[in-house]
Structures are given as structure tokens and as C-alpha cells.
Amino acid sequence: MSSDQAPKIAVRSLTKVFGSEPEEALALLTKGLTKQQIYEQTGQAVGVANATFDAFEGETLVIMGLSGSGKSSLIRCINRLNEPTAGEILIDGEDITRLHQKDLLSLRRKRFGMVFQHFALFPHRTIRRNTEYGLEIQGVAPEERRDRALKALKRVGLEGWEDAVPGQLSGGMQQRVGLARALAVDPDILLMDEAFSALDPLIRRDMQQELVALQSEMHKTIVFITHDLDEALFLGNRIVLMKDARIEQIGTAEEILSSPATPYVERFVEEVDKSKVLSVSAVMHAPSTVAYPTDGPRTVLRKMEEHGFSLLCVVDPDHTHRGIVRDEAALASAQRGEKSIRGIIEPGIPPVAPDAPLRDLVPVLAEAPMPAPVVDEGGKLLGVVVRASLLRGLATGAPGNGAEPAEKAA
């Protein structure tokens, strides 16, 4: 996802105007009028105004905004379900706004998979035939498309449901079919339009986790639309925040949370009141191992190796927090033949209290790639918060996968 890599999708100055005289609206847009002003003057509805952003291969790019912000118009421009009024959309460097009908169809067939808010399954077809749809219209032979559909259904955990019809499935299962239908054609790009918004909260969280798991195997380019900041923070490698047809800010979850670019983003971020209400103790977990000042550097290195860490928290035998030790420092210390690690303990991130608001950690962890220590009043180490569990906590208000509840571990 580094910026020297060529973008999979490059959107350049994209504008979409709904109405019969878009030219007029375009002229007013360049003068800097707002969507509302243009609508009052011309009756033309601006869906997307001058959007520019990239999406890289393997990245989940979340486009977030409230309803009417233009995010759905924008995602539909990417596969030209909405015809862009101005600007370019480059897929692997090719401007698709100029494609003719035939090439456009083949682009949609081979490169894109789309998942819809209300599933949009075909009620007259079985689950298998729904999943086969994209392959069927490409003219793939029945045998092959059946195999590929079954494989896609297996991938989303719907093995054995292939002969059911959409009406027999719950919402969450229907959206799995929606996802399987999109995956069956093996597209490079997944467009997901509020894909989980119609699901109830528990199912929704499951689906988000599953999408993250699937994406870690598939490395597709995912463009995910949502109006929910929690979802955006959890899923997005980067987030595009939209308001009134314009892009307000593009950045990682940390960037958006810690340095909102505009007052609007700030207000939006404040909506994540979980980060203020939620305290550190909700997401911290007990460190699986610690180092003691009396430990020799080789002992510390072995502990690191066993647990796959590159640094450890250092505590006194009574568990008072002392700091951290890094692997390279321990290695150097071992080579120097030192007996203990006393000399190489670093302060690390300043410790926080378990009842401190989670939000305080956002700027800290954004800066330093190390766990934040959580200590009690007596300075004893209770647990640590790592970046992943912080974001998870912000996104879902619950401790991360695999992290044990803090009380039990402490």
C-alpha cells in the first residue's frame, strides 16, 4: 500500500451531476458554490464534486459519509453504473470513462464484483444460480460455473445451502450469498455499497470480521461504503470522508481520529463517543510475558523469541512498571556480556490509568509502534494496549479477538 506503488483505482477530479444541464452546474462548481446553492440556482443535483483519490491493490478503502453525502453516487461512478459528468477514473492506468459499451460490459464482468446494501439477490433463482450469475452472463460452461459458485459459497461458509432460495435465508446469510456472487467471478475490485448496513449489529460485527479475514487471504482492492464511522475505522486501511458531494479528508483511521482536517470531520469523530466513554481497561490485555530487571539479556531474547515479540515490558518482581526493553538493545547487551538488562531499559510510552479514556491513547499509539502500559495507582503493570486492540475497541467497543478480558488476566 506504499505510495510508490501504482494505484489500482485512481479517481481524478471526478464530478457527477444529476440533471439535464450538467454544464451549468459544472461551471458553478468551479466557482466554488456548494451543492445546496447549485441546486437552488439550477435545479441540478451535484452527486460528487471534484473527487480525487487512489485505491491500492490489497487495500480496503472506506468511503464514509452521511446519507446524501455522495458516497453511493461515487461508488457507482467507479463501474459506471452512474455515468461520470467530468473527470477520469483510471483502473490500472486505463481511463474507463471513455470505454465503449462492449468494453465496459467486459470490464464489469471480469474486474468488478459488487455487493449491495439490500443484497439484491434474484428471488427466482436458487442460491447456487444466484452465485453463478456473473459467470453465466460471461458464457462460462455450466460445469465450471457450478464448481466456481460452490467454491465461492464454501468460502463464505454457506456450503449445503446451494439449493435454497434467497427467501429462506436470514439477512446475514443473504449477504454472504451477495458476497459469494461477487467473489465467484474472481474480480480484482470489490465494490461494497453499505454492504453490512442492513444487518443487525451482532451479525454485522461477524461479517466485518469475516471480511477482514477473507481480505487477508484474497488481497483484493475493496472500496467499501458506509455511514458508520465505527465500521470505517474497523475495516478501512484508509478512509475517505465525504460531505455534501465533496471529499473532506482522506487518511488512515489514526490520522482521522487524531487530526481531523475540518470542523466537520471533528464533529463526525466526536460521534464516536465510545472512544470517550470507553476506557483503556476495556481493550487492554495482560502481557503474555514480561522481563525483570534482573533477567539477563539472553533470557530476555529467548522470551521474545518464544512469543514472537520485538520488545517486552519490564517490571519489578512486585509488578511495578519500569519501562521496556527492545530486542536490538538486548542483543547488543548480550554481545557486551552484560549480566542483566538494567542498563538497557527504556522508558517507552508513559503509562496510563485503566480508567483513562481510550481516546487519549490514539495520538500516542499513532506515533509509537509499541504497546502502551496500563498501571494501577501504585504503579503496578495491569496490562498493555497495542494498536490493533485500540482500533478494534474504537470500532466495535469490545476487546479484540484473542485478547483476554483484563480483569481475568490481572
Binding site: L81, H124, I137
Partner: protein
Amino acid sequence: MDIPQLPLADWIDSALEILTDQFAGATRTISSFIETGIDAMVNGLMWPPPWVVIGTFTLIAWRVAGIRVAIFTVIGLGLLWDLQLWYPTMQTLTLVTIATLIAVAIGTPLGVVAALSRNAYRVIFPILDFMQTMPAFVYLIPAIPFFGLGPVSAIFSTVIFAMPPAIRLTTLGIRQVPPDLVEAADAFGSTKAQKLFKVQLPLAVPTIMAGVNQTIMLALSMVVIAAMIGAEGLGGKVWTAIQRNEAGMGFQAGLAVVILAMILDRITQRIARGNKPV
């Protein structure tokens, strides 16, 4: 004060005259084709003894619409046989069937075109309003110069009278396919034809079948009226009863129409509802 009268009637007459002359060959071909079809179907229905036909219909009714409709079918058709109305009933059934087939064969494609093209819609739908509000009797008059007195003229005017719901409900059925399903079909790169045949038409089938059902009902009412221009069957019986002022005979034939209508209605309604996904 007298104002000059617009010679509308004269214009229409001469237009019809020209059309009749120009298309005499075509109408004669159509006429003999349809006549052959009618004869073949009536003969086919009259060839086996009535109880075989009644049994067949009862079986169809049972399989499609259930036991109650089947019982109604066996009693209803049995009554018609008993009342010596079997032959006219089979004639009427034939006229209705052929008129419906033609109306649906023309109406469904027109309905599809009207659903997909705004311009076609603007042309077709006002004509439908016209067709449906024009008194049905008027269609009988031009049928005669085209096809002469007889069953073909009856079918011609019946097709015109019964076609509008086939068109309207096809258009409605396609237009009410949920937009997100159409969008999904587009997003996967469907051509217009794939979208139509794989998504829009299959989803419109229940509505289209409701249109077919209405077409059958309208056709049934029109073939009775068409007795005035020589359609035989139950309508003919009613028409004779009017001329001879025989209320009993007229009522019998009318009852036969009702029984036939109910059987056809229940069976086609059930077909409209009972689509299983594939």
C-alpha cells in the same frame, strides 16, 4: 346555427375501404389460417366422448389448482354436457383460446417494448386507453369487411378488445422489478437481452400471468358479443335466445359462460401464483 360537419365518418370509411382493398390477400390468408385452426381445435375437442374431455380438464384442474377447483370442474362441465351445451361450449372455448393466444403473442412483446422504451410507452399507452374505452361493439363493424361474417371476424375483434391487459400488465411487471436487482444485473455486466431474459421477464411472470388471466376473461365476454357477427358457440345461443325471446335458453347459455369463465380463471390464477425458483 349550422356549422359544417366534419366528415370523420366518411374518412374512416374510405380509409377502411382502402385498407380492405390493399390487404385483401393478406386478410384472406390470415382468415383461412385461423379458420383451419378453429376447425382443428373444435374437431379435436369433439372427437373423444365428452367424459374424456371432462376427465382431462378435471385432472388439469386438480394438478394445477387443487381438489376444490377439480370438483367444481367435473360438476360444472358435467352440467353443461347434460344441458346439451357441450358443442357450443367447446366452440366458445376454442375461440377464447385462439384469441387469447394471439392477444398474448402480440401483447407481451409490445408490453416489453413499452417497458423498456419511453417513446414506445408514449405511443402505446394512449392507444390502449383508446382501445379500452371505445365501446366493444364498434370493433365488430370493421371486422366484417376484413374477414367477412364468421368466427375469424369474431376472433379479430376479440383480440383487439382483450389485448390491452396483456400489454399493460407486461409493462407493469417489468417496471416493478426492484431497481436494485436491475442494478445488480448491470453491475455484473449483463447485456440488455441478458437482463431482460434472466432477470426482468422471469420476475415479471406473475404479473404477466395476471394479465393473461384478464385477457382470457375479456376474451370470454367478447366472444359472446361477437355472436352478432357470426361467432357460434355459447354467444350464438344467447343471441338466438334474444331474437326468439326465450329467457330460459338464454339463461342456460349465460350460465355456461359463467362456469367456463370460473374454471379458466381459477386455473390461470393458480399458474400465475405458483412459480418455483430454478
